[in-house]
Symmetry: C2
Amino acid sequence: MPKQSFKQATLKELSAIVKLSQSTVSRIVNGEGDKYRIARETQQRVLHAAALHGYTANTVARSLRQKRTYTVGVIVPEISEGYSTAVLGGVEEELLKDGYFYFVVSHRHRPDLLKGYPRMMLARAVEGIIAVDTLMNEDLPVPVVSVSGHKHRQGVINIELDHGQAAHLALSHLKTLGHKQIAFIKGQTFSSDTDRRWRAIVDEAKALDILIDPQLVAQLQGQAPGPAPGFEAARQLLQTGRPFTAIFAFNDVTAMGAIQALREASLRVPKDVSVIGFDDVPAASLNNPPLTTIRQPLRDMGQTAASTLLGLIRDDMSLPHPASITVYPKLIVRKSTAHVASLTANVAD
Amino acid sequence: MPKQSFKQATLKELSAIVKLSQSTVSRIVNGEGDKYRIARETQQRVLHAAALHGYTANTVARSLRQKRTYTVGVIVPEISEGYSTAVLGGVEEELLKDGYFYFVVSHRHRPDLLKGYPRMMLARAVEGIIAVDTLMNEDLPVPVVSVSGHKHRQGVINIELDHGQAAHLALSHLKTLGHKQIAFIKGQTFSSDTDRRWRAIVDEAKALDILIDPQLVAQLQGQAPGPAPGFEAARQLLQTGRPFTAIFAFNDVTAMGAIQALREASLRVPKDVSVIGFDDVPAASLNNPPLTTIRQPLRDMGQTAASTLLGLIRDDMSLPHPASITVYPKLIVRKSTAHVASLTANVAD
DNA sequence: CTGAAAGCGCTTACAG
DNA sequence: CTGAAAGCGCTTACAG
């Protein structure tokens, strides 16, 4: 089959050249020369020869021997999508700083991939796994850190948003603007954040004396990414004929879809209906109107996930570690929410 | 779902269990049972045991032995960004289909990373590299496929857009709408597509009898991702005081930034000024107004890059292969362009 | 300080 | 048809 056009020098060859054993050369090129009290002169000579012949240790052989690959696996629902990639940015930064590389796979909610990918990554000997917005159903023999809404589970550290705080930020913002009839779009059932977020909303609504009309609660259907499910959910909300002056959407892309549906129904945002999103993906500020939203510190969450995972790998999970790490949301007020104008704005007649 | 954990069994253990040699078991699990005429019954028994014990060959060991890693490296400018991730989606699909995994690194235009990452990936024994919108300056000992605007170079296959066609689509669309005074926003100098695209525009403008006013040509500055550079460029265009009725932006995000600048100057899009983007990233259709744009088949380009690279890896680059593969753009007409209203719309008076 | 040797977990040429 | 054995390129316990 394929043969390398360019043959890398091996340890064996290099040792023959410098007339030393592989052991000694290995120690020197790995910077352990002093530790083994190898004469400085010898070290220089070897290092020079190594540079001359372009020697770099074959990481595959090293991995096999050390049983360390300096590689982690990252599993996301969808790679072509703002949420995951924002997290990935943080993950990458932190990982590469420590000499780790990562594989990425996206399962697109396909059960076979959800099950197969962790296993494939394990076969690739990843030292740990980061699951982004993905529920891992099996116990894995490596440390797992999960970003967003993982169920609590032995051995999985979850980086999670303070959903109570998020619900508080969003609902009190809406309440301050005078909104009393608020519609909600919940996440898809498969999304790991859906339940937790919803419960936080219910609790917070109670605390703020906001009534949730069950008819004004829609749920995202299907697993298409993008704004389409949000568009559909908003249409469904509109069809109930019940009045509402604001929508709290599960995420930004849903909010964008909902705004389109509202427009089609000749409702202006935010004049007739306010819409608040969630996440603050890059597109949120570019939207028209720019989205008021609850920001998740996605990049930070990625960084935290990576550094936490690296810690677990180093400590072999033996030290005590938290079951979860909570990060805080922030209310970003832009133009998609405004003071309520009329409680019956969206009623046709 | 039942809980189960994958303890990686080794070939040695599995062979002990089924009481066969490692050779035989290896052949069976690699699907070569028939080739070696191993009794079907035996094969069944082994496969069953393998499944039961969750045996998967350790790819590190296999890689060392076969001198194949089934891994490629992908280098992109920025991972948290629509263009690269759209391409990545296609790359992933194609690669995983063939059992390949990939490492991703993002250089963010930092010269040290641009230089260091390819080396690091090589040390990881990647069998090939895909460069997305990134100019690779060194000769690499593995096949390289580049997506977008790579300079022609020995041993690098470039997946490139037909820029002539793209320019034709955009300019003739604008011309049909009556636009004669068109402003342009060129890409940053570091972007590998900038030059080629601009030359195509100049040629096509000539062919269509469209005059390019050098004063109405701005260039994206700085390396910030997002709409800010486009915003600045449009402001600069406005400050010239020269009349124009349309802007052809380097990409969609730039177009969005430009639209914001236009709005701040109380110019309506598309009523006063038409704006056409490039790429058709997911956010383009979500924009308000939804962007008219030149679509690049990004996902396809990723798939093509991956399958081409796999071909090169298999054939050891010995077979003749093309220097580049051209893909075609498509005009997507949405709401950011319209028939020209008045040639002096943007002149303050 | 330095080296000989074992061994990581596979695949595969070779032999029977 | 099946297995014993070599070996991929390293690292590292062990010995001197």
